[in-house]
Symmetry: C2
Subunit: 303 residues, 2 copies
């Protein structure tokens, strides 16, 4: 088995850990075979900026053509100018809500159409390829190997649920109900026996990061994962939830240590753990660190 699956994973302790888990999975009841993957930075490149932020910027540019006065708003000005100091001063949540407001009042189907149009045309700022080619090939192989073993695969993302749903089937073979993310509230427009949902700029609950990830997994999925993959402090609680399930489990932490082929950057460990790097935390928590540099022979999906 190990020769045929996971061809983009280099031999070593990480690949052996995964293959060993897959080989013992037949003993686990089928309904317990649940795997969860973070999206940005875990199965899709998140640098130099989230794909969702690029989409929001493209929406903003489109709206500015019709209404240049929008450019006077400080949040939008900072986004257009890619002014990091201004963005930090305003705070990401405030900027994000301002951008979300641009898309308030439309139906989810219309939002979905806009994301699909954006993704079909967009190119990655640094590499000039479609975002589909910014998927990590080894993680696609891992998703396929888990599915071949009867796993249900969910994407548990801090990004917007509807944004990720618009790409999840094409990118990962995941249906809309397989995406658990940050949720926008809907207004209900109801008359004459017809009902429409309209997006608002309000979040339902907290953004889907940190403790919200296991909470939303239970609320929405109701089955506990035994395989979890993430890359940042926002994934820590989800990894620990999977690890404490009781039986065999794998918790992967993708380490972005490959400046040549992708980007090299440290996860924001300090926000999760009081001391040391997230790699120290991983060692203490029993997570398996995936070195992009050493564990992956190929990084990006060819198409």
């Amino acid at each position: 088995m190990s020769a045929e699956i996971l061809p983009s994973w280099s031999d070593g302790a990480t690949r052996s850990k995964i293959v060993g888990f897959l080989e013992q999975v037949d003993e686990i009841p089928p309904h317990e075979r649940v795997a969860v993957f973070d999206n940005d930075g875990t199965i899709l490149c998140e640098k130099p900026g989230y794909a969702q932020l690029e989409f929001m910027q493209s929406e903003l540019r489109r709206r500015l053509e019709d209404d240049p006065s929008l450019g006077e708003r400080s949040e939008f000005r900072a986004v257009i100018d890619r002014d990091r100091d201004a963005l930090v001063a305003l705070g990401l949540p405030r900027v994000a809500i301002a951008l979300v407001e641009l898309l308030a009042g439309i139906e989810p189907e219309e939002f979905d159409d806009r994301v699909r149009s954006f993704i079909a045309a967009a190119r990655h700022p640094d590499r000039g390829v479609p975002y589909r080619q910014m998927r990590y090939q080894p993680m696609l192989e891992l998703i396929a190997a888990l599915r071949a073993k009867g796993f249900d695969v969910y994407i548990v993302t801090g990004g917007g649920t509807e944004f990720v749903r618009a790409i999840s089937h094409d990118f990962y073979g995941v249906m809309p109900e397989g995406v658990i993310g940050s949720q926008i509230d809907y207004d209900v427009d109801h008359h004459d026996g017809a009902l429409r949902l309209l997006r608002t700029n309000r979040l339902v609950g907290d953004p889907n990061e940190g403790a919200a990830k296991p909470q939303n997994i239970q609320r929405i999925l109701g089955r506990r994962p035994i395989f979890a993959a993430g890359n940042s402090a926002g994934d820590a609680e989800m990894l620990d939830y999977a690890r404490a399930a009781g039986g065999p489990s794998v918790c992967l932490l993708v380490d972005h240590d490959d400046a040549d082929r992708e980007y090299a950057y440290a996860s924001q460990a300090a926000t999760f753990d009081s001391g040391g790097s997230i790699l120290d935390t991983a060692a203490r928590s029993g997570w398996t660190v995936v070195s992009m540099k050493n564990d992956w022979s190929t990084v990006f999906a060819p198409s």
Copy 2:
């Protein structure tokens, strides 16, 4: 086809409407084949009281054996005495939260175990049979017919998500993620790389009734149903959401008009529509009324 499926449905306009819809479904893209069913009163008998309320009462009795002082609390006293006047005076939401509090602090797996134990032993107060035999046989046949046509079937209930999940696979073949209900919030207990979720007595958002049903369908499922079945004013928005999907759709309203074989009672139409009964509303809204008395040759599942 019509002779073999839906054997417990009597010939007539209602059965013809459903069979006609099933015959044209092949032209609908597979991912649009989504059906939603309310639980209490739509696929399971809800009289003389909700199964979930019976469960809560049994939990209360169990706890009273250990701690008789609980009986001094007015909400619990009213439940134990089945004192309708006191229950009305206190208000159902206050009583419900008091009962939910009895189960705060336990993990979802433990809650699931308790519901399963209750359901395995419980008997319906009036009929003396297991709750499984209080499922409506025609609706089980309908669920099977929809699945045979490639539908994904969801239960969208005002009841607690976790309560219905504990019975949904055994009763309806629906996995936990196929249940969308009222959601209890979880506290997170996180230390030493292990994480547990613990039930609280707090609801997340509104109870899953009325407008919350289509909102939660979009948040959790992300696909719009084209088949919906309910029995009360709390299902109206869900039915209208399905009906306004654009293509062929069926919206069923179960009318409890069979005092001999089940119970005869009017849905609380007044809470939804300003004039007339919910049957008038159904006619205006383009819903199909299912007369339990006339449309069903058998009411309950044999086992």
